[in-house]
């Protein structure tokens, strides 16, 4: 389906699925709110106990169900609540990235970022940047028909 049926109107907001680690980036999202940093309402946050819990299957499912971008966020390397969880994320992400790239999906649609609980501004900026990038790209080519 090369011609995506969904109109790219000005009002279109991308759907972004953000996987957030309970101990860092989820807190980061909280402090972004508390610090009143403005961010677009495009992100749907899914809390996981550790970024290492994020199975590549979750990411594929998000894409198949109509996500325009998927963000994988976790603690900075060395700060993992479970000692080596984010090291495993790094390895998994390498494979995941390879599949998504080779599949022909734009690299902006899958991103990895390390955000700690105190970095509210970083979180807000990240969401803002990704939203702007995806708005430029338009809806994901994997989005099923009928899903906005």
């Amino acid at each position: 389906m090369s011609g995506v049926a969904i109109a790219k109107t000005d009002g279109w907001e991308p759907k972004i699925v953000a996987f957030c680690c309970n101990w860092c980036s989820y807190g980061g999202a909280d402090s972004a709110g508390m610090g009143r940093f403005q961010q677009p309402a495009s992100a749907r946050i899914i809390r996981v106990m550790c970024s290492g819990r994020i199975d590549p299957l979750h990411v594929f499912n998000a894409f198949l169900e109509g996500a325009d971008a998927v963000l994988v966020t976790g603690c900075h390397i060395g700060d993992c609540h479970y000692v080596s969880g984010n090291d495993k994320t790094k390895i998994k992400y390498k494979y995941l990235e390879n599949v998504v790239r080779e599949l022909g999906i734009e690299k902006e649609r899958l991103q990895l970022n390390w955000i700690s609980a105190s970095e509210g501004e970083k979180f807000a900026n990240f969401i803002r940047d990704v939203t702007a990038q995806i708005k430029k790209l338009g809806p994901s080519p994997l989005k099923p028909e009928g899903v906005v």
Partner: protein
């Protein structure tokens, strides 16, 4: 006998030497291993006709001595056959069989201590159905009339029952879309150095051509296997001449170069890949045959790729294939079994290799070539 040594050898039994390929050394070595209780079972091919053979696990020496020998049009794979059986077994294996067995060993489905792998040099195998068609179209002979085949000097030779020999070069056949399976064309493992003992007719010189096998010992187990066969009087070995060793290295180099060339030709960079993958996978009927034959998959019946895949949810791409693309990233050995069994003829090996090539190159990991743990299972990536 030690690791790293090379020999030229043949069977001492006249009928085996005549019937088996290249002096019947492999057949006799397997029979000797069974005879002297080095192993409990041996895997051999039981011939049905010129194009078909079934692999069987046997403990009967006569069955081993009467086995099919080498057939180019039987792309069987032994790794899954011996997995999860806890056998003490010796088996002949092409490069991709060896890689499959080692990958199963890494996943604890095969005990490598108890498995003696007799590696066979392999320039490629052919699909039986394609071979039949090729015989009718290219050679203009009936498949039923064929009585033996051979590859010599880049030519594929079919002998008919009336004693005639028909030869066409492999390059010509492959130009027309016949010949070796696609995965064999771009395979770059021609001499299985990862096996216990590598056997083949490359490097046999002089009077012995066609009557002896060149052997290279790659491990302690391999040395034990060969020593056992010599002691039991099943085979005879001698040192190879320098010319032979040089010739073997040369053939290996040429074949691997050709493989690399095919690889560059098939895996050209491509735009609009998503459309390409969607088009290729559009006929998939979810039979799961590609997973069932995959020699590196050891998940069993309950696995991530099948349990989380629902046909009704696969709006634009099937979850089954997405998970397989990911899991085979560091496991795909490019054996071509998935393409062979696919009932709707999806070129699956080509698709899987598209995902596996870049990541295997990046991580410098060749599955099945050594006992290195797959990087996916490491806690921290060694960079």
């Amino acid at each position: 006998m030690q690791k790293g040594e090379m020999y030229v050898g043949w069977s001492t039994k006249d009928d085996v030497r005549k019937r088996g390929g290249s002096g019947g050394l492999v057949t006799s070595m397997l029979a000797a291993a069974l005879d002297k209780k080095l192993v409990d079972a041996v895997v051999v091919l039981k011939k049905i006709n010129e194009f078909e053979a079934v692999p069987i696990i046997t403990s009967d020496i006569n069955e081993v001595l009467n086995s099919a020998g080498s057939l180019h049009s039987v792309p069987s794979h032994f790794a899954k056959l011996i997995a999860n059986r806890n056998l003490k077994v010796a088996l002949p294996a092409k490069g991709c069989d060896v890689r499959g067995i080692i990958e199963q060993g890494k996943r604890n489905a095969i005990n490598m201590e108890n498995t003696f792998i007799v590696g066979l040099n392999c320039g490629g195998s052919m699909h039986p159905v394609v071979t039949r068609e090729m015989l009718e179209v290219m050679y203009k002979i009936k498949p039923e009339d064929v009585h033996g085949e051979e590859i010599e000097k880049g030519k594929l030779i079919f002998k008919t029952k009336d004693g005639k020999e028909n030869a066409i070069t492999i390059d010509e056949l492959e130009e027309k879309g016949y010949g070796r399976r696609e995965s064999c064309r771009y395979c770059t493992i021609k001499i299985p150095t990862n096996s216990d003992i590598a056997c083949g007719n490359w490097g046999v010189t002089g009077d012995l051509v066609g009557k002896a096998t060149f052997v290279e010992i790659n491990s302690e187990k391999g040395a034990r296997l060969l020593q056992n066969a010599v002691d039991a009087g099943y085979i005879q070995v001698q040192k190879p001449d320098e010319k032979g060793v040089a010739m073997r290295t040369k053939i290996k180099g040429v074949m691997e170069g050709l493989g690399q060339k095919w690889k560059d030709k098939i895996f050209v960079p491509m735009d609009n890949r998503l459309e390409y993958f969607r088009k290729e996978l559009e006929h998939c009927i979810d039979c799961g045959a590609c997973k069932a034959v995959c020699p590196t998959c050891s998940c069993g019946d309950v696995s991530k790729c099948t349990e989380y895949h629902f046909r009704s949810d696969a709006y634009k791409m099937s979850m089954y294939h997405l998970v397989r693309f990911l899991h085979l990233g560091d496991a795909c050995i490019g054996c071509g079994q998935c393409s062979d069994v696919c009932p709707v003829d999806i070129p699956l090996t080509r698709l899987y290799r598209r995902f596996a090539n870049p990541i295997q190159l990046e991580l410098k990991y060749e599955p099945g070539m050594d006992t290195r743990k797959p990087p996916y299972f490491e806690v921290k990536l060694n960079e």
